[in-house]
């Protein structure tokens, strides 16, 4: 009988192998258990962050609504009501120096502007490219505006998508006018059957994108892009200004 066949040697080796395999098994179980627990904790943290972010977005959307209401109230109070009061007083006192006809025309224009701000007219009939052209037209008086539009498809973008994109462009233009101190703005639109891509850049002072901006503008953009199930990328630096790229893929889920 060979030495390894000796029962004592055999039992000893069996015990050693048994213990090694068992220890290995325990180590695998403990390691994976710990790893998965860590994974679950990280996932929970991520979910909590997402919920917190969504809450912030919701909060922003409420604030944006309130800001819009305040702006409309202020437009109505400062411009329209002021003019209508003057017309009322002039007609009551029979004063001829007030051009009531002109003031009425102004009031109608103001009311029309407020109405258009609230709901853009002919939204369904007008293409997104035409909308952008209309929006950037007044800017040409103060900025160098570069507009590049590529329409590969005659696809009709739905009214809702158009409205959200128009609001985003309005927000970007407002931000640029208020904060960027830019001299040049560029708009690049590309429409295909599969997606709409829009790039808006300026040569302004920029800001640090790592720091969360305090204003509601960017959150408003993010919220609207979420509604469109789209993605966006914002880059900004003091040297190169700010660039915003929006991508909306079809069909929108």
């Amino acid at each position: 009988m060979a030495q390894w066949q000796d029962s004592e040697t055999l039992v000893l080796w069996i015990t050693i192998v048994f213990l090694i395999v068992l220890l290995l098994g325990v180590a695998i179980v403990v390691f994976i258990q710990m790893h998965v627990k860590r994974m679950i904790i990280a996932q929970e943290k991520l979910s909590a962050e997402k919920i917190k972010h969504q809450k912030e977005l919701l909060d922003s959307s409420v604030k944006v609504q309130e800001r819009e209401r305040e702006r409309i109230a202020s437009d109505l109070h400062d411009e329209l009501i002021g003019k209508l009061n003057i017309i009322l007083l002039a007609s009551a006192s029979q004063r001829t120096e007030v051009d009531t006809k002109k003031m009425l025309q102004d009031s109608i224009d103001i009311a029309r502007r407020i109405s258009h701000d609230l709901s853009p007219p002919l939204l369904e009939e007008t293409s997104l490219a035409e909308w952008i052209r209309d929006m950037v037209l007044p800017l040409k008086e103060f900025y160098t505006v570069i507009l590049t539009i590529t329409e590969e498809s005659s696809l009709l973008i739905s009214k809702d998508v158009k409205l959200q994109l128009i609001r985003i462009i309005q927000e970007v233009i407002n931000n640029c006018i208020k904060h960027a101190k830019a001299t040049q703005m560029a708009f690049t639109l590309r429409e295909t059957k599969k997606y709409i891509a829009l790039k808006i850049t300026d040569n302004g002072v920029g800001f640090k994108t790592i720091e969360k901006p305090e204003g509601l503008g960017l959150r408003n953009i993010e919220l609207r892009m979420q509604l469109l199930n789209g993605t966006y990328k914002l880059t900004s630096s003091k040297e190169d200004g700010t660039s915003l790229v929006l991508l909306v893929k079809f069909p929108i889920a």
């Binding site: 009988m1 029962s7 325990v26 179980v29 994976i32």
Partner: protein, 217 residues
């Protein structure tokens, strides 16, 4: 009490614990989810096999056929459990490989003449244990790859299955080498299995209770 009485009581433990599992699993059966229903079937199979082995021992003084037969049932049930747990993420070869292994165990039962104590071996049982260990490791791999999203309860189940079958398979594997070893040494090695088995059944019963308590009918 004499040592033999203690040993008799110890040998009764797997029967008692599997019976408790059958009762508790039966109470919660309708509330159990799919993989726990298979755990219940496993406990029922274990209990019936235990009773049958005692009966065969009394009648023909040889119950070795049940070692491989239980290996077949064990592999069948655990492959079903892992099939459910892996849901749609398992490899296409899962079913064919299990089918071939089950066939091998049947071949082992037919050709190894289990009624002949001299020629008996526990290869069928080792094959069954190794396959379950591999299934358990495969499941861990899928969890780490994030292919399967698991609850802590299922992860714990997989860990216990891996450890139990490591012990169980090593013990069955070594019995083939211990033919010349004195009976008391072999018995002390088999004693580990006698203790590990009821602990495993208690854990499975706890798993059934936990699942039945939480799940809605």
């Amino acid at each position: 009490m004499e040592i033999n009485v203690w040993l008799e009581l110890l040998l009764l433990l797997p029967t008692v614990t599997s019976f408790i599992g059958v009762i508790i699993g039966g109470i919660f059966f309708n509330k159990l989810n799919d993989y726990c229903k298979y755990i219940y079937f496993y406990l029922v199979a274990a209990f019936i096999t235990d009773l049958a082995s005692r009966y065969l021992d009394i009648i023909i003084n040889n119950n070795l056929i049940l070692v491989s037969a239980f290996g077949f049932i064990e592999l069948l049930i655990f492959s079903m459990i892992y099939y459910k747990l892996l849901s749609k993420t398992h490899h296409w070869s899962f079913k064919p490989v299990i089918a071939v292994l089950l066939l091998l165990i049947i071949v082992d039962i037919i050709f190894v003449k289990p009624l002949d104590i001299q020629s008996f071996n526990s290869y069928g049982r080792v094959l069954d244990g190794l396959t379950i260990i591999l299934l358990s490791l495969y499941f861990y791999w899928k969890v780490l790859k994030k292919d399967v999203i698991v609850k802590v309860e299922i992860l714990r189940f997989n860990g216990v299955v891996l450890l139990f079958f490591l012990v169980n398979t090593l013990l069955f594997l070594t019995t083939n080498f211990l033919v010349n070893t004195p009976y008391n040494v072999v018995f002390s090695i088999l004693l580990i299995n006698i203790i590990a088995t009821p602990i495993f059944y208690i854990f499975l019963t706890f798993q059934l209770w936990l699942n039945g308590k939480i799940q809605k009918p």
